[in-house]
């Protein structure tokens, strides 16, 4: 029961991080300026990476 709740939390974090990575990649190709593209790459580097690795932390806690 508790393991399933942790796995659901982890999958939610991983899905949200994947969504931010996709948004950042589309911004990297759609935005018109160099500085705007730096903003899109910052979305990938902070939001996507932090949320996916936090999801990995919750998967690890569920394995324990």
């Amino acid at each position: 029961m508790f393991d399933q709740i942790l796995m659901m939390i982890a999958l939610g974090f991983v899905a949200l991080g994947t969504l931010l990575v996709i948004i950042g990649a589309f911004g990297l190709i759609r935005l018109p300026d160099v500085y705007s593209r730096i903003h899109a790459a910052g979305v990938v580097d902070t939001g996507g990476a932090a949320l996916i690795l936090l999801g990995c932390v919750f998967i690890r806690v569920g394995i324990w």
Binding site: G17, A25, V34, G48, C56
Partner: protein, 84 residues
């Protein structure tokens, strides 16, 4: 579910690779290569957790360090023309 996330990361890598190919300036290419490095780090970490071997997170950290140092080396090469 995690395999879907890895597939989405692969599609994102391909989209960023388009910006590497047709970026107008060199800074766009450096930025897109840095983003591809971050996506590959996330893919390596998720692969380790899918295969139930979380030690792959060490390889992901090593790749993050190489990505950081490589980006700064390329930018220093652009700025000064040499690396020494």
């Amino acid at each position: 579910m995690l395999l879907v996330s890895i597939a989405a990361l692969g599609v994102s890598i391909l989209i960023a690779l388009i910006r590497v190919v047709l970026g107008p300036t060199a800074f766009d290419r450096v930025l897109a290569v840095n983003s591809i490095g971050t996506m590959i780090i996330l893919g390596v970490a998720l692969h380790g957790f899918i295969m139930e071997r979380p030690e792959f997170i060490d390889i992901a950290i090593l790749y993050a360090i190489l990505n950081f140092i490589g980006t700064f080396a390329v930018l220093k090469l652009f700025s000064t023309g040499k690396l020494s």
